[in-house]
Symmetry: C2
């Protein structure tokens, strides 16, 4: 099972179409118009796929690359990634998880050791077969994930119960050469992620960690990206290839009516331990097998954030991850005290920076204030501060929220407090608005007819299910169509009451749990 499931056909996928955005490499650059600050040509509601592609390029997050499915992550993207990374890295260090770095390359024998696992990844594996002009003796794979890269060494390092738990993480790139439509952040052939790989003496410890990590993923989405997610467990069909069970945080994109797996925390059970002989002597001197977890989140998080919050003016950044939280723009007027205005802007930005707020000024003299407003709106900066002659006279600044457009005049005496409050409010508003939109898409169904109707309306469907694999296969088969089949997204940990006698919406058998269904990315 591919970790990323099926791609939405309604996404702009074909990189070839993006030729306009590609580097010319030749002398054509003068023909290409400067994109930023000129607004978007597609609307989010009308053509979501094109809108998305345009936003990530015009906000200077992504540059399309001359190899399909590979994207350049520009500084505006990397600063978001680094902020999330700093949070997650410090949290896992508190959990005594240590960073390491394993090689990019895997030898075929090791890669193929766990059968279910390799079946899940085999079609997407990129193979190095040459160096310079010479053929390699044996082709070498590029890691699509590192279970099989790492676990032979876990087998070596783990001898006794005192070597446990072994808790490692790495920040790295991985490669999955997928052929379905590539989409920036959401489905790329190379992406950045962290992958944690831990081994414990007992299942209880492994179970506990699975949920601790999942909670960190929830916090990344909800506390940093202001994106609401549902915590739950994947079905047997959708779980990680070779693992015991998979938990995930699931987001939802109302515009396309598709769920999207936000991050996964897997309990691998003892399956890999068996294949790779990861044994230890327990406290009683008996030979035991470890229990393992693996867990990962990737740059996909950033794509989800763009999809959820962006609007027809461009990107909308939640304040926590914005590398520029406040942009200060002078609004000079012909007879006004221009120097005074610029000085006030500089002082404002400095005051904010000293208070730990990421503020910058835009003093470029070749752009009008109006152009700058559009430019920084496109880039999604949460708060704009304008200072004109009147503001200067009144010892105030005008603050404009990116999310709502709301304007507020702030006295310079209470600048820091009010800006902090506004940034907090922006985060909360983004989260609330996203939750409201997501919740408006949730449809509880109990019958097949209700299910089909809700699916046609692109809903996030919550239905009682018998939890049988054949039934999920059957639902997939019966909903197969142009825009993709329905599948399970997760069974939420937060289960509504399931009255005795409730039947599965699809099979009519006794229902075992409520499960979210829908199309997905």
């Amino acid at each position: 099972m591919s970790i990323y499931g099926l791609l939405a056909e309604d996404m702009a996928g074909d990189d070839a179409k993006k030729a306009k955005a590609k580097a010319s490499g030749g002398g054509k650059k003068k023909e290409v118009k400067k994109e930023t600050g000129l607004g978007l040509s597609f609307k989010k509601e009308e053509n979501f796929g094109e809108w998305y592609s345009e936003v990530v390029v015009n906000a200077e997050m992504i540059e399309y690359y001359d190899i399909s499915g590979c994207y350049i992550l520009r500084p505006w993207t990397m600063s978001i990634w680094e902020i999330m990374q700093a949070f997650f890295d410090s949290e896992i260090k508190k959990m005594k998880i240590k960073n390491c770095y394993f090689p990019l390359f895997v030898s075929p024998g090791v890669l193929e050791k766990e059968k279910d696992h390799i079946e899940g990844f085999a079609p997407e594996v990129a193979w190095v077969t040459k160096s310079g002009k010479s053929d390699l003796e044996v082709p070498i794979a590029i890691r699509p994930t590192s279970e099989t890269v790492m676990y032979p060494y876990y087998s070596k390092w783990i001898r006794g119960h005192r070597d446990l738990p072994l808790k490692l993480n790495q920040w790295c790139n991985v490669v999955r050469w997928e052929f379905s439509n590539p989409t920036p952040f959401i489905r790329s052939r190379e992406f950045l992620w962290q992958e944690g790989h831990t081994a414990f003496a007992t299942k209880e410890e492994a179970d506990t960690e699975v949920l601790e990590i999942l909670e960190l993923y929830r916090r990344i989405y909800e506390e940093f990206l202001a994106v609401p997610v549902i915590k739950g467990k994947k079905s047997e069909m959708e779980k990680f290839a070779g693992g015991l069970y998979t938990t995930s945080v699931e987001a939802f994109i109302p515009n396309t009516g598709r769920g999207i797996q936000g991050a996964t925390s897997h309990c691998l059970g003892q399956n890999f331990a068996k294949m790779f002989e990861i044994n230890f002597e327990n406290e009683k001197g008996e030979k035991s097998m470890v229990w393992q977890n693996s867990w990962a989140y990737s740059t996909r998080t950033i794509g989800v954030m763009v999809m959820v919050h962006g609007d027809d003016k461009g990107l909308v950044l939640p304040p926590k991850v914005a590398s520029v939280q406040v942009i200060v723009i002078p609004v000079p007027y012909k007879d006004a005290d221009t120097k005074g205005i610029f000085d006030a802007c500089a002082a404002t930005a400095e005051t904010l920076c000293e208070a730990g707020i990421r503020a910058e000024t835009d003093f470029r003299d070749n752009y009008s204030p109006g152009w700058k407003y559009s430019h920084w709106e496109m880039k999604g900066v949460p708060l704009r501060i304008e200072i004109g002659p009147k503001d200067l006279a009144n010892n105030q600044v005008r603050a404009v929220r990116r999310d709502s457009g709301a304007k507020l005049d702030i006295s310079r005496d209470s600048l820091v407090d009010q800006v902090k409050t506004m940034l907090d409010n922006i985060h909360q508003s983004l989260f609330d608005a996203a939750t409201q939109k997501r919740d408006a898409c949730v449809q509880v169904v109990k019958t097949w007819d209700e299910f089909k109707e809700a699916l046609s309306q692109r809903k996030l469907i919550l239905a009682p299910w018998c939890d049988e694999e054949e039934v999920e296969l059957d639902v997939k088969a019966r909903t197969k169509g142009e825009i993709g089949a329905a599948k399970t997204l997760c069974s939420p940990f937060d289960q509504p009451e399931l009255p005795e006698g409730t039947k599965c919406f699809a099979s009519g058998k006794p229902a075992k749990k409520w499960t979210y269904w829908g199309r997905s990315y």
Copy 2:
């Protein structure tokens, strides 16, 4: 020209020999003895290559991997890398250099665009030709460095003088499939580094930045790794393929008598700008070409540190980069107050941690104090604190320096101040000792005979040189031998006086500068 020059044949290079260290993958683990804490079987002075391989494994920095030339970087290594990274990243951010991430893959046309450049790298490029079971239409290269990956986009992004300077950096992995003897950190087929790529309107700005970055590299070596380096300029033969000139920091390994390039800061001139058409309209409205730099340091830094400071007890970590700066070990005695001792150890570590010192306790009950001493000595922890019954009675701790073995009883009342002073002293002692050893190897020569004699004594040779490429080629040819030919290391910026009429040691022509020569890694 390979960035890493020739490998020392006297290094332990053949990974096949390291089979003993490899993961068994099978059921053989019980036969492998636990390495750490058992001391080294090779001595630094007697068999440097084997000693090095043993230290990096036994100190738990490196694990040998089942693909030759690839190594697992264990947490003990990654924490060193992360400390250097935090420093360098914050310094370049102050210089307004921004992080980005470009793809791992390069298409052949782009890779081969700059002729001199690709000639330097072509034999080492790894090629992906298959995904799953399908052949790719066109083989795709894995970046050996990213000049050609990035510069087509610089051409796109840079239009006018206001787009300059463009200053980007990335932290990533690169692959150079070298066939000469691989060595952990020093020469690996995949390694981690940062690569900065900047473009300026003027040569002056580029020149200035080259030196600013070089100074940061000097600080990494001298202020973090306690390794003295020489700043200088590379010869035409040794400069970066396709660039204008290369500056470097050069370290020296007295045990092998080899120089080692520590990090490089290149001015690329306008050569890549010409090939990739990176033009801009200057302030007068004229079309101009940018001036570019690129600069990098890699995990090689860590290998240099190991080689310079390590001893027959194992690794010696400079305090600045040690993830554990102080290890606190209880030394209970049969009739003594064991609980009191353990409490004192815990309190000591806590006090140190609160003061920002990275301290840990070793309370394992299955190892003796003596075993623990050896273990943490092997891992290179700068300072050991022992607390036994007498120490407890006297409200003191015993501190033992890893570098010198010197012991000092410290009152617990002045613990933090004294430990800080000791850590500072350890850094300074390591740096001074390394400088003294390096300087003792420097030999000033003026004639060919003196040069040959110094080379046979494995010296770091400073000689007046005519700065002609044929002469360097000639010296290489004339010194070719079992342990490698001599070449230029750098012309130091800090030039001794060169009296009028001084002749080149090799050609007899008028000398233009003093240059360091020697064998190198």
